[in-house]
């Protein structure tokens, strides 16, 4: 498929990430819209589409998307909600692009907002009441503990590589004004290695801290961006998405995920190889997820993640800058808006607005999403989005 640059991301917004801040998802999303309008100079009336991520704090409301649009004063011709957890925002950009190409709408607010740490999440039900909760597997940390244990058995796992990821992202988070205050402290590799086990071999510092926050981008046709006189734009040029990878292969290794399909698909569409990627902004609910993505997208071979990490400068000044805003692990996870966090950072970098953590060559970026935890697998949704200037 030929590379298209007919749809663009022309603006972004992000609230600070706050632990139990008490503001609602509506309030947080409103701040994102205001930032985008101020940044782009676009009038609210130009926005005729909205694509919203499901939240933890509002999902008990089946009308979350339309209520939010009403709250924001948006009349839309295209309204969508994505329930793909941390894969929702990247998925939303691509769905918005399709809708724009189909003429359903012209300018879309893709927004994710979640006050998960302030307002108790809804129960996800399904088989968990019978086949997980009585066993006591500790939610995502338990599932990723299982994943790490299995990876270690198959390939060996160098914990100093995970420590390096933790410290690299923390150093980036320290330069991010939006990172949550609680994580604004330097971290050493020893502190990571000494941190308490939650669900062996997974430690406290392998994990995200759930907070509140919102983020979003404005997507429009390249033609319309010109009409509006918008100067800054990045283009989604490659995308791959898989949900429920090998769902009917009950003996598939949990160390292999949908990224083995989504990564190569996105790269092929963008006409790129992993070596061409200038920045990597992977979804990081747990450190091991970053390593698995590096392998499965093709930056290195299976089982080579530890050595790749140890041998690659992943800092904002390095060969492959990694989650330059600190990622969710060091900036805080704004609930299910977490999927937009690293994405907005990629756009910020490509707009040249990342301040002291600005990378020198932000001509492209790879952003990923992970969503939902299935039974005895790894994760439900994997997606990879490649952006280009």
């Amino acid at each position: 498929m030929a590379k298209k640059k007919d749809v663009a991301i022309v603006g972004y917004g992000e609230t600070p990430i706050v632990l139990r801040g008490g503001r609602s998802s509506y309030d947080l999303a409103s701040e994102v819209l205001e930032q985008i309008l101020n940044q782009t100079g676009v009038e609210k009336s130009e926005i005729d589409g909205i694509c919203v991520s499901e939240t933890m704090s509002e999902t008990s409301n089946p009308f979350w998307a339309v209520f939010l649009a009403e709250h924001l004063g948006l009349q839309t011709n295209w309204t969508q909600i994505n329930g793909m957890g941390g894969a929702s925002t990247a998925a939303g950009i691509i769905r918005a692009a399709s809708a724009i190409r189909d003429g359903l709408c012209t300018t879309v607010l893709v927004v994710a907002s979640d006050a998960q740490s302030s307002y108790p999440p809804t129960e996800q039900g399904g088989p968990r009441w019978e086949f997980q909760y009585p066993v006591g597997l500790r939610g995502p940390t338990g599932v990723f503990g299982m994943l790490m244990q299995r990876y270690e058995h198959q390939y060996g796992l160098k914990y100093e590589a995970l420590a390096k990821l933790a410290v690299t992202q923390r150093n980036h988070g320290l330069m991010n004004p939006n990172a949550t205050a609680k994580l604004k402290a330097p971290l050493t590799e020893k502190e990571y290695l000494d941190s308490k086990f939650v669900s062996t071999p997974l430690r406290v510092l392998d994990s995200v801290m759930v907070c509140d926050g919102a983020n979003g981008v404005l997507v429009t046709s390249t033609e319309n961006a010109k009409r509006l006189g918008l100067k800054k734009a990045v283009y989604p040029v490659g995308y791959g998405e898989v949900t429920n990878y090998k769902v009917d292969d009950l003996l598939a290794d949990i160390t292999e995920s949908g990224f083995t399909v989504a990564g190569p698909r996105a790269l092929a569409q963008a006409g790129m190889t992993p070596q061409d990627v200038r920045m990597f902004h992977p979804y990081d609910d747990f450190l091991i997820a970053i390593m698995l993505q590096l392998e499965q997208i093709g930056f290195c071979g299976k089982g080579e993640g530890s050595d790749f990490i140890l041998n690659t400068d992943l800092s904002h000044k390095g060969k492959l800058p990694l989650n330059t805003g600190g990622g969710q692990i060091s900036a805080g996870q704004p609930g299910l808006a977490g999927g937009g966090l690293n994405l907005v950072e990629a756009v910020r970098q490509m707009f040249g607005e990342a301040g002291e953590r600005q990378v020198s060559d932000p001509r492209n970026a790879m952003v990923t999403g992970i969503g939902s935890i299935p039974y005895a697998k790894n994760w439900s949704c994997s997606n990879v989005l490649i952006l280009e200037q």
Partner: protein, 143 residues
């Protein structure tokens, strides 16, 4: 009872809620007799776990419950140091994905073994933990 007020609240372990998302009563009735049932797809000749309304192999609903041998191996495991709510008085406890002979993996606790002695690939056999009069919960122990 006045003394109860000063004692820490005993955690309430979550009990299964049958028939909420799909019909599971046959599974729990068999568990009460010490049997582990899995769903079997008669079209594809494959088992599945966890229970569904239809076959994940064929998409059809030609499935039945069949008794599993109860033999398997540890595919992966984790020692839960921090508890899921209701399990606070059990820590540390072991959760495992057990790969059964029938070609499915099941999440279960491992008993009669210490966390440091569990090995991936270790043979295990079915046992049960009595959670209540109604619920006999499948678990595994070294074979």
């Amino acid at each position: 009872m006045s003394e109860a007020k000063t004692e820490p609240k005993k955690p309430v372990r979550p009990l299964p809620r049958p028939d909420i998302y799909t019909k599971t009563t046959p599974f729990w009735e068999a568990a009460n007799e010490g049997k582990l049932l899995l769903q079997y797809c008669k079209d594809s000749g494959k088992y599945q776990w966890f229970p569904r309304a239809g076959s994940i192999h064929s998409g059809k609903r030609n499935i039945e419950w069949r008794q599993a041998s109860g033999r398997g191996t540890v595919y992966s495991y984790t020692v839960s140091v921090a508890a899921w709510p209701g399990h606070e008085d059990r820590v540390p406890y072991i959760c495992a994905y057990v790969e059964l002979e029938e070609g499915v993996r099941i999440l279960a606790n491992l008993f009669n073994v210490k966390g440091e002695d569990v090995k991936v690939g270790m043979p295990v056999k079915l046992t049960f933990e009595r959670l209540s009069e109604k619920f006999n919960y499948p678990a595994f122990e070294p074979a």
